[in-house]
């Protein structure tokens, strides 16, 4: 274990870390605080805000016309997240137990790093009315008329799962990679069935990886913008799309800020949950081994 201490008398920690701390405070925290402030202000005539405290934006947000939007966003996010996690659990398991980990990581990371718009465009080309699937099926005579595969809720959910699958596979793989698989053998020897050994030995031990995977899919999907815009129809708009429209078209900055606050608060809760889980896990792991260097 590395000892954290002062080196050679002087503490250079602040000097090293100050530039990044300053950068984040100025370009990340301050903009967020401005959003918080703007959400409590009055809409300006030509965009911008008037410096006057009001709860108008929040009142507008709770308007019934946005209720459907919230429900839809939450529903799509939940379905996509659950599907993503269910697919990535066996994937992470197979990868962690495989002899070809580097190759498999390579195969997961390549699509993940390829430009997201290129991938969305590919799905449009596959699912579109004259797309790959429809034109192939028509040519083979299986279909008489094209299927409406694109511009609906199902397409949005599928492409979201596609986009965020690597985000979930990677942390689950990382957690499972650290897991000692002989524990599964031990569980089986002690009489556990296969599914018992999975749910009661493996899953609790990779908990923090699963929580990370949930956070890394749920939060970005909750604020998704491009996928519902390009793959969805007019009735699959999500929170992110409305925020952008409020900023660029309606120029109602307080309302956009209020919507952003919702996403920020949800994200922050998620992050705290994740940090809590991994902190508890670290504490458990620390408590487990026998203390060795108490004599020193």
């Amino acid at each position: 274990m590395i000892g954290r201490k002062k080196l050679a008398g002087r503490n250079y920690g602040p000097a090293y870390s100050f530039p990044m701390g300053f950068w984040f405070s100025l370009f990340f925290l301050l903009p967020l605080l401005i959003i918080v402030a703007y959400s409590f202000m009055k809409k300006g005539v030509h965009g911008g805000v008037e410096w006057q405290f009001t709860l108008d934006a929040y009142a507008q947000m709770l308007n019934s016309s946005y209720a459907k939007l919230f429900v839809r966003t939450l529903w799509v996010t939940l379905v996509a997240t659950v599907l993503t996690i269910l697919i990535s659990l066996p994937c992470g398991y197979a990868m962690a137990r495989s002899k070809h980990q580097t190759l498999l990581l390579f195969l997961v990371i390549i699509p993940f790093w390829t430009n997201s718009l290129i991938r969305i465009n590919a799905w449009i080309a596959i699912l579109g009315n004259e797309g790959f699937i429809n034109s192939t099926l028509l040519k083979l005579g299986i279909l008489k008329a094209g299927l409406p595969l694109l511009y609906n809720q199902g397409a949005v959910i599928m492409v979201l799962v596609y986009m965020y699958l690597p985000y979930a596979i990677l942390p689950i793989f990382t957690a499972m990679d650290k897991f000692d698989f002989s524990l599964l053998e031990a569980a089986r020897d002690l009489g556990a069935t296969k599914s018992q050994s999975m749910t009661r030995v493996l899953l609790p031990n990779v908990r923090s990886g699963i929580v990370t995977a949930i956070i890394f899919t749920f939060i970005p999907i909750f604020g998704a913008y491009t996928v519902p815009l390009l793959v969805g129809g007019k009735d699959s708009y999500m929170l992110g799309n409305v925020i952008v429209d409020q900023v660029t078209k309606a120029r109602n900055w307080p309302l956009a800020s209020a919507f952003s606050m919702v996403i920020t608060v949800v994200s922050t809760i998620g992050v705290l949950w994740m940090m809590g889980t991994s902190a508890r896990e670290a504490a458990r792991n620390k408590a487990a081994p026998v203390k060795q260097d108490t004599a020193a």
């Binding site: 080196l7 250079y12 370009f27 398991y93």
Partner: protein, 295 residues
């Protein structure tokens, strides 16, 4: 493997006929070893299908980039769209140039700041350490729309015109957390006594930094830099908000291509981008696990 001998002479056949499997420990081990060896398990199937799923769109686009006609009906092999991509798309290459400049400058700044901060946080205890760790975590997780909008509002509130500079700042900001985490992971494997030795031998703080620490963690720093370049080249949503006239980046250009009429040139471009991605992933092949851990 030694299976237990049945008591009566017919016992063996009886035990084979009955559904009851031998339950002794070696028998269980043998059975499981056999299963593990020969099964096509659920997890392997899901893994294979997922990789197929992940690659299907890429394969289809690359395939159709060689299609002679515009649509998705195959009409013969042609390099037409590649010709158009390399010789008839000045705007695309201008935007690519912009992307390149921003990617390298922002990755450089993010790498320097993130590496220094990681060294500070890993080796010293000081006030504000927790603040630094927490604040570096949030930009990674917050949806891009929020980061983009908050930056847009911030820049217009302080009257900074949108353009290359604002894109550079935004990109450096979202790359920083990843650099910080990757270098931090590298530092955790670092042998602390080397630093003490350097100090004992009379090295100053600066000499220790440049002659001992940086060379030792250089692979981690390089992979963080490459990852920042990749993320910067890839980003669309945040750039969309903080870009101004004359600062179109490649993803912004691709967005306009996807949104307003699809040209097969984009398929040809896809292959170039996929190959570029593969090259970067190949350069990072020894760090893929670190990448996986930091995402």
């Amino acid at each position: 493997m030694n299976f237990p001998k049945p008591h009566n002479p017919y016992g063996y056949f009886v035990s084979r006929l009955s559904k009851k499997k031998p339950t002794s420990e070696p028998a269980r081990h043998a059975r499981r070893a056999l299963q593990n060896k020969s099964r096509l398990s659920l997890s392997h199937t899901v893994m294979a299908l997922s990789i197929l799923f992940l690659f299907l769109p890429l394969v289809v686009t690359v395939l159709y980039s060689f299609n002679a006609a515009k649509g998705m009906a195959w009409s013969g092999f042609s390099l037409n769209w590649y010709h158009k991509l390399f010789f008839g798309s000045e705007k695309l290459w201008t935007s690519f140039g912009n992307s390149f400049v921003i990617a390298f400058s922002s990755a450089l700044v993010a790498t320097v700041l993130g590496t220094l901060a990681a060294i500070g946080v890993n080796w010293y205890k000081f006030r504000g350490r927790t603040y630094i760790q927490t604040i570096s975590f949030l930009p990674m997780i917050l949806p891009e729309v929020i980061i983009g909008i908050s930056m847009l509002i911030f820049f217009s509130a302080i009257n900074v015109p949108l353009g290359m500079l604002t894109i550079f700042i935004a990109h450096a900001t979202f790359c920083l957390p990843f650099v910080f985490l990757m270098v931090l992971a590298r530092l955790d494997e670092f042998d602390f006594s080397i630093i003490e030795a350097a100090h004992d031998l009379g090295a100053t703080e600066r000499q220790t930094l440049f002659k001992v620490i940086v060379p030792a963690i250089l692979p981690g720093i390089m992979s963080a830099f490459l990852m920042s370049v990749t993320m910067s080249l890839e980003d669309f949503v945040i750039t969309f908000f903080v870009s101004g006239p004359g600062s179109t980046t490649l993803p912004l250009y691709v967005f306009s291509m996807v949104r307003y009429g699809i040209s097969p040139v984009i398929n040809a471009l896809s292959l170039v981008i996929i190959l570029g991605t593969m090259l970067i992933a190949f350069l990072l092949r020894n760090f893929l696990k670190n990448v996986a851990a930091s995402k």
